[in-house]
Symmetry: C2
Subunit: 251 residues, 2 copies
């Protein structure tokens, strides 16, 4: 039997229209889809021929461990299947996609990586926040907020010199704010938490860094992206998500 | 006459299959496309009905200034046209997309922003380099290298604590290397320059940070993305771009 093929696919922030063309083609042809939590059902519907296997977290616990995901992908490919490993955002941004690529490589399974629209950039954008803007931020930094210490890598960054984007950081947002304030970031630095970017029920909290800890935690089930920096204030003036714009787009 | 509509569209790294589904729809409907340099002709072919207007740099000089781009978009929308402003990568990553959004907002033109696959993440990925990887880098920083000083924002970052990605930095790569080495980054830190990611004629230079200045400059016309950090060494082991993988994908 000939070997199958595994596609490590970035699903983007959630809206099916923010999938890449290649991702939709691979889903259409897929025989097995392994999907994370937070991948909406509309995306899974694009793989009508595929058996689906949920490999994400449920109620905070992994339904299967990382080694188990590797084994599933490898076993299916050895049975000749076309496998799509569908990962939120981009597969190589804080998603253990590198580990999955290495596992496939070591098992001699043919595979590819299909980059996706990263929520680190798209979630702010869809809330009217450009992560870079001339005169405000000439770059940005993306980190995981999975633990209170995870943002220690931000310590050396001069306050307001870069836009800070934190994924998986809703639970630890107070520690993030404390850390940045201690390093000299002004209390009034604009901050935002974008929940459910590109989903119909998206909601954005905006305030000052000093108040970030008080931002409501809509994070379950909606994913949240934290943004800190002067660019956040542009959301006052970049309001294209207004209904008349949406109406004009769908003419 | 009713107002037109402007879509600020991320074109992704160049391969038409890495456009989003929404971007391809907007191109198909477009009556006017304003495109940057580096947008390949295959993408423009997706807008068969549209008048096309090149607004990028030619031989290092802008064919039109930023205010002129704003005026073109606004004038066309006032004539009722569906306009696509097609920008490399993601429109809000170092591309002045925020300025274009503000100009449209101030002119009361309905518009939208369609995030794209950013070359900052996808160019490394397509060269086998995940910008994050457990145990190697829990985050990454993206900056512009348009001038020797532009990377000064990296000064406070602890060596090897984040992956560094520099866009538009081919010309200033020597200054980048000098700066990082002076801040304590080890001379042997792995570095790469990815030229033409997702194009058929892509080529990647890999070496040590100390040798970055000697990386060949293929940067005209191919765009180049610089990556510095331990994750770059993973490209030795993430080799999915090999021909047999590509063949299996196109079965």
């Amino acid at each position: 039997m000939s070997l199958g093929f595994v596609s490590l696919v970035g699903a983007g922030p959630g809206d099916p229209e923010l999938l890449t063309v290649r991702a939709t083609r691979r889903l259409a042809d897929a025989e097995l889809v392994l999907n994370d939590a937070l991948v909406p059902s509309e995306l899974l519907a694009l793989a009508p021929r595929a058996q689906r296997f949920f490999v994400g977290k449920r109620a905070g616990r992994h339904s299967i461990d990382q080694a188990g995901i590797h084994q599933l992908m490898i076993a299916a490919a050895r049975r000749g299947k076309r496998v799509v490993r569908l990962k939120c955002g981009d597969p190589f941004v804080l998603g253990r996609g590198g580990e999955e690529a290495l596992a496939l490589e070591e098992a001699h399974i043919p595979y590819e990586v299909i980059p996706g629209v990263s929520s680190a950039i798209a979630a702010p954008a869809l809330a009217g926040i450009p992560v870079t803007h001339r005169g405000l931020a000439s770059g940005f930094v993306v980190v995981s907020g999975h633990s209170d210490d995870a943002c220690a890598v931000l310590d050396g960054i001069a306050p307001n010199s870069l836009t800070v984007v934190v994924l998986m950081g809703i639970r630890t947002r107070a520690a993030l704010a404390t850390r940045l304030l201690a390093r000299g970031w002004p209390a009034a630095t604009p901050a935002a938490v974008v929940y459910g970017a590109s989903y119909p029920d998206h909601v954005t909290w905006r305030g000052e860094l000093a108040a970030l800890a008080t931002a409501p935690a809509h994070g379950d089930p909606l994913p949240g992206v934290i943004v800190v920096g002067d660019v956040v204030a542009l959301a006052d003036r970049i309001a294209y998500a207004r209904p008349d714009a949406a109406t004009a787009a769908s003419r």
